[in-house]
Subunit: 178 residues, 2 copies
């Protein structure tokens, strides 16, 4: 019989912005570069706030800050590609996560053109080329519901992860029996 | 000058359900047990499809299949806790990911009671106790927009990750310079 204790202990905390960010850093996630191209121009940013929703139809979510410099490009182009990074991409991740001009970001890697026209990172672990179906505002961000129209699988099984504000390798060998 | 090549190669694939699932397995993610309690009873399931949305207000997303046996409990209770697992929780993850009766799932670990009433895993890496603010249907799933009302940080920095359908350890030491 398991016991349900009455409450959080006094050490547990109501949630302000810094506590939430620190706690989310404890979770960890794969790192992606999300790209777009079209009438509003080419743009891209590094992201971890992405997840799968449904396989019927294949749909994933991308969270995007409405105050981001790239927001309008994604909104107007209506398409994007999620490029999941490998451990070799730490420098590229930094370029797409900072204030580097867009041309310099893209000049640092080789890109293909996706079905939607969005740039596909040639050596990504995997890329999901998508049409943005719906935008749902939540706080400072829009959640983009994205229909996946093409997948490109890469040559490596390892992905780049971010956890406790540091990069990690996620992949073979698995450290635990699955 | 980087080159945009004209298109995907013939080896790239249009997206059916199996391809999408295989590609998402390549991404990898932290593993969580999501719990609820209230008038509709106690329930919980293992999940990787969770992500942060906004820190203003602190909000995260949980994706839940509407055909899941636990769906009604989450919908009616209107609250949940996301408990991020550690590498010691592989067996618990399996229990909450399968067909095990709910009482047996919860009997396998020690739980506290969250601010919302939802069960908080005592030795989780981190727990996010939440009120479900909005449900947005997408394909087979509902995306639950959850307001975080309490955070409980655990004693370990390592989290359990799932990648290529195997468990991994994500944590110290970091394998790359961050």
């Amino acid at each position: 019989m398991n016991t349900i204790q009455p409450h959080f202990s006094p050490g547990d905390q109501m949630v302000d912005r810094d506590l939430f960010r620190s706690a989310m850093a404890s979770v960890g996630a794969a790192v992606h570069i999300v790209t777009t191209d079209g009438a509003a121009g080419r743009a891209g940013f590094a992201a971890t706030a992405i997840c799968s929703v449904s396989d019927t139809p294949p749909t994933l979510l991308v969270c995007l800050n409405r105050s981001s410099s790239v927001y309008q490009a994604f909104k107007e182009n209506g398409v994007l590609t999620v490029n999941t990074l490998t451990p070799s991409h730490t420098v590229l991740s930094g370029l797409f996560g900072g204030k580097t001009p867009m041309e310099e970001r893209f000049a640092a890697a080789r890109w293909l053109k996706g079905e939607t026209g969005a740039p596909v990172l040639a050596d990504a672990a995997v890329s999901f080329d998508c049409i943005i179906d719906t935008r749902v505002p939540s706080g400072t961000h829009d959640v983009l519901f994205c229909r996946v129209v093409m997948v490109r699988e890469g040559q490596t099984d390892d992905v780049l992860a971010y956890h406790q504000r540091r990069y990690h390798r996620l992949g073979q060998p698995s450290l635990l029996e699955g």
